[in-house]
Symmetry: C2
Subunit: 373 residues, 2 copies
């Protein structure tokens, strides 16, 4: 008997060691699931998609025309590849089936979805940690997709106080009370510096073509739009059946409607917006996919003299009409006005606001409920 006792102790010891080693190593490997641990990336990379080619008449001569001349470049027989989108993608380990395709808004790039202005993780990392493949795009004529087939003059006009208002941080110089934006000056510095100009004339159809090309390349996915990309986002789903759901953060007023069912033109702050219409048969595509639309705080119920609030009030009115029309035809639109469900203070950028994890959680519950995760 006394011989067996050490044997049993050894066996128990080895067994405990085995368990502990396994547990520790499994924990180390699984750390990507925590909110601060490692993100395990199976694949990442970038590419251009879509676009066109300009070709100049004449013949290029590599000796006669081959020297760089910054002031007067001969263009005989030369080409320009432009109007494509730029895409950076990351696929995490044990990835979910449907990727999230993130499409930025006016004056922005894929930067919108990266680190927040106050230095926390944005939707890129948050959804990688939840095992979604992510595709972050710069639309044609913006950011790293800046080569345009049409010329433009960029005026360098100071305009940030305008955007402070339209992006609903406040009515400059005052922040709205309780707004979900850091009061550290560096946050506002980073926020302003994430803006980028158009490097060619804005062209919604060209953007739709490039993003549809992306869905053709990558297959089924969930399109996440923001602001200016909202309108072309609806039309991308009409064009490409690989768009399996749309998540729209504060889209503009250019919702798509069936012919004869559009609201009147929207007059907002001196501009007139006429929602585009399509035949009902085409429109029905939007009734086949789950759609969720988010609007944040400080959007009034009644017309406001503050243009930075008024345009979103007008656009949210169109959103209500869009929900009504899509759902009447058998669709599945959820419209979330965040303060109405108790989530207060959001700006035009819920994906990078101080409570962006709460927004991500809300979205994750929606995706799960629609079997999109």
């Amino acid at each position: 008997m006394f011989m067996e006792k050490p044997e049993k102790v050894n066996k128990l010891y080895i067994f405990i060691l085995l368990l502990a080693t396994t547990a520790a190593l499994v924990a180390a490997c699984n750390s990507s699931k925590s909110s601060t641990g490692t993100i395990n990336i199976q694949q990442q990379g970038s590419f251009a998609v879509g676009g066109t080619v300009l070709t100049n008449p004449g013949t290029f001569d590599p000796i006669k025309h081959g020297a760089f001349n910054p002031t007067n470049q001969p263009a005989e027989g030369q080409t320009l590849h432009g109007d494509h989108a730029y895409v950076f993608y990351q696929v995490p380990e044990k990835a979910r089936k449907l990727p999230l395709v993130f499409w930025h808004g006016h004056g922005q790039s894929a930067r919108t979805w990266e680190t927040t202005p106050d230095g926390r993780e944005g939707f890129q990392n948050i959804f990688l940690r939840r095992r979604f493949p992510v595709y972050l795009l710069d639309q044609p004529r913006r950011g790293r997709a800046a080569r345009s087939t049409k010329p433009i003059t960029i005026a360098a006009t100071p305009d940030e106080q305008l955007w402070f208002g339209i992006f609903r941080l406040g009515a400059y110089p005052n922040f709205y009370p309780g707004v979900q934006f850091s009061k550290q000056p560096e946050a506002l510095n980073q926020f302003f510096r994430q803006m980028v100009p158009n490097t060619g004339p804005y062209d919604a159809q060209l953007n739709i073509d490039a993003v549809s090309g992306l869905f053709t390349k990558i297959g089924p996915g969930i399109l996440v739009t923001h602001s200016q990309s909202g309108g072309p986002g609806w039309r991308t789903a009409l064009k490409n059946n690989n768009v399996k759901a749309i998540v729209a953060f504060e889209p503009g007023g250019d919702y798509v409607f069936p012919q004869g069912e559009a609201p009147d033109s929207i007059k907002v702050s001196g501009r007139i917006i006429i929602p585009p219409t399509v035949p009902l048969a085409e429109f029905r595509k939007l009734t086949k996919i789950p759609i969720i639309i988010y609007y944040g705080d400080n959007i009034p119920d009644k017309p406001s003299p503050i243009p930075g609030q008024e345009q979103w009030r007008a656009f949210m009115e169109v959103a209500k009409k869009f929900r009504e029309v899509v759902n009447k035809h058998g669709g599945d639109v959820t419209l979330v006005h965040l303060p109405a469900i108790g989530i207060k203070g959001n700006t035009h950028f819920p994906m990078s606001d101080l409570n962006n994890l709460e927004i991500a959680n809300h979205l994750a519950v929606f995706l799960k409920g629609k079997n999109l995760d």
Copy 2:
């Protein structure tokens, strides 16, 4: 005795199981070291660094000036944050001490270091797998750092056959024999689409200031320049002691020299380049850090009528002089003309050429030899 046998077998079995489990899990965790496995990212994100602020006179009124007017935006009392760099960073697990800071060339963005035109991994992934933290920047007035404090007109002039030559893929329409560039048409399509225009006038000092600001923010690191960023790269190291080494891929002719020791002005394809000079005491900073300079293939020994070859011949002559002067003053410059060490066919983009892993291996050996890894 017969009682003890199963005990021993169990013990052995458990021991083997323990070893096997440990080995398997360690292997799984370490897969980031292979060239195709998971990359384990401890941190990733983006930020703006450097730049200035334009402020317009007057007072902004959020009601009177708060509506978006795409054709005539009032600028009273408004600001523009511009001229910063944009930086995306990734820190792998068990990271080496010194990060690599990748700075692109003319007409490019950080895209240069990502996926190659033919779809393989670029230096971003290759050096992440070797456990270097990587910082990929878009310099001021380029890509995602496009907001400029000075206006510009972008002409959309077709010019790609020029770049085909200057980037030494060949003399258009012919590729150079044995060139390390894929002949698949999609590779050339992707290559052309990675170009981006200046979104403000090119300003080397402004770029130096932003990249120096980056080194102040992140601490010691290795600066990797390409082409146009070569010149400002030298001057960034003069400005910021956190630049602990420089890796320069095909820098232009604007090497820095001590006063009185510069070569004559360089006349290349109708342009005249005068290398900048600094006092010797300042120049000596460049003698304190390891420097490696790479040039690829199809750079002739003697003057060539082909401008796309001739400019690199002239610039490599300056490189030789730079090596001589720095090393004479006690420095450590290694100049690698790749064909001279048997690595043939490289274009102006060795970091994304077909043999980019061979180039990365060469660089890794250099970094190890200088205790920089």
